[in-house]
């Protein structure tokens, strides 16, 4: 699961021409540390939903990698 999430996040980084991550840390913040804007967050949710069948933003905003792990 963690590897898949890393793949998804790196696909978004690639699309933005930004450096990819070698690993994710639970405390990383999506906006501050990953540099995700609202469009990237939307992309993240549709890709996670496609892969895992879970809408991570269904009941409120998710801010960190740790919170995504918890949802999955």
């Amino acid at each position: 699961m963690r590897e898949k999430l890393l793949d998804i996040i790196n696909s978004i980084k690639r699309n933005k021409f930004e450096d990819q991550f070698l690993e994710l840390k639970p405390e990383q913040q999506l906006r501050e540390d990953l540099n995700f804007d609202s469009f990237d967050l939307a992309e993240l949710t549709v890709k996670i939903e496609e892969e895992f069948g879970v809408d991570i933003f269904e009941d409120g905003l998710v801010n960190s990698i740790h919170e995504i792990y918890a949802k999955l």
Partner: protein, 404 residues
């Protein structure tokens, strides 16, 4: 003399005459088994001045019940009209007082019905000796307004129709060659799926494009493949019948239309006088709001271009995205055959722009290639965030791309 060739089924004008002269009844709301039966049934009703409702042959039980349709109603005629010649047949169709009921379907599903007097449906039909030898590639659903237009154009000029609707690319190419098709009329989606072709087709003299928004890139590709064809881009709808035509994607407000069309918040409004008798439209001060959005090209407001459908703009985080603008950019990619851009609801932005891409055979593209391609061409918020590559883009009953 043939009227119809539909794979291994055919129908001649003489057979139509025989059918008219030996039948006593027709079927309303006919769930027809094949195109030959469909046309014979309809022509019989027209010749006998009877009203008829045309429905798709693949209606589901649910669609039949939710639209309160009484399908396959046999209507007997006490003294059916008898005809002596094909010329008489054509004249009795042309001057029939039948009313024809059609359903809107298009891009948003099977919904409302509209009844048109025949003379309203055929007012744009050209009948002349020059058109006697036309051969039509029939590339529309026969029960919808565009197919109805092609049917009348062909039969009133005693032409041949070769059915190519929803057929494969190879089938269509063979049909154009074998039957020396001179006229093609279909949706932009049809031409996008047919092109590019590796050779030219000289036999085609006229190409009509309509039913969906078209663009100049597609029109120029069509021009290259069919060098002898005059191209006609048309605008009309089930609600209004045919209205405007043009050789490219710009339409002109003709003198006779001044005062009869207006634009409110970019939406095209059409005066009721432009579409004849129909009581089923919601009118605002005698104008019908088409739902089609346009932009003026000149200051005098005589030339315009369609930009989108009102209910098809996708709201992404407060920005309005026109899916056609994105599709137009993507279809210019040399490896892309067809695309469909649509919105998917998102808790973050309201909607996320998604797209399905059909590639040309033996080509490959990755998600990031698409993103790179679009980057700088359109604004960031318009760029699809979910990109899927599909074998085939699903089409509606009328051969258009599905919106949702």
């Amino acid at each position: 003399m043939f009227f119809l060739i539909d794979r291994n089924i055919s129908l001649t004008y003489e057979e139509i005459l025989q059918h008219i002269n030996h039948s006593q009844s027709y079927t309303d709301c006919y769930i027809y088994p094949d195109l030959r039966s469909f046309f014979l049934n309809w022509i019989f009703a027209l010749v006998n001045e009877k009203n008829i409702t045309l429905v798709d042959s693949d209606l589901s039980e649910k669609e039949i019940t939710s639209n309160n349709l009484a399908v396959d109603q046999i209507i007997k005629i006490d003294v059916p009209k008898r005809l002596n010649s094909v010329d008489e047949l054509v004249i009795s169709i042309r001057y029939s007082n039948s009313e024809i009921t059609l359903f809107t379907s298009g891009t948003t599903g099977f919904t409302r019905k509209f009844t048109h007097p025949l003379k309203n449906l055929i007012r744009k039909i050209n009948i002349s000796d020059e058109r006697k030898n036309d051969v039509w590639g029939f590339a529309f659903n026969p029960t919808h307004v565009a197919g109805v237009q092609v049917f009348f154009q062909a039969i009133l000029n005693q032409n041949l129709l070769v059915n190519v609707f929803m057929e494969s690319k190879d089938f269509i190419i063979n049909a154009i060659e074998n039957h020396k098709i001179t006229n093609l009329s279909s949706t932009p989606t049809f031409y996008r799926l047919l092109l590019p072709l590796d050779r030219l087709f000289d036999s085609v003299k006229k190409i009509t494009i309509g039913g969906e928004k078209s663009d100049n890139h597609l029109i120029s590709q069509v021009e290259k493949t069919f060098p002898n064809a005059r191209i006609n881009n048309v605008y009309g709808s089930t609600e209004t019948g045919p209205l405007f035509s043009s050789e490219n994607d710009e339409f002109i407000v003709q003198d006779k239309h001044i005062g009869l069309i207006k634009v409110v918040d970019d939406e095209l409004y059409i005066h009721k006088n432009l579409f004849g008798k129909t009581t089923q439209l919601n009118l605002i001060d005698d104008f019908y709001a088409t739902g089609d959005l346009i932009e003026w090209i000149d200051d005098e407001q005589r030339n315009f271009r369609f930009t989108s459908r009102k209910n098809e703009l996708i709201n992404v985080g407060g920005y309005k995205v026109n899916p056609y603008e994105v599709e137009d950019e993507l279809t210019q990619h040399p490896k892309i055959r067809n695309v469909r851009v649509f919105g998917k609801s998102s808790a973050v932005l309201g909607n996320v722009i998604c797209c399905e891409i059909e590639l040309l055979s033996d080509t490959e593209l990755k998600e990031e290639d698409i993103r790179h391609f679009l980057n700088g061409k359109i604004q960031n918020f318009k760029i699809p965030r979910k990109i899927s590559f599909v074998e085939k883009i699903e089409l509606t009953r009328t051969g258009k791309k599905k919106i949702i």
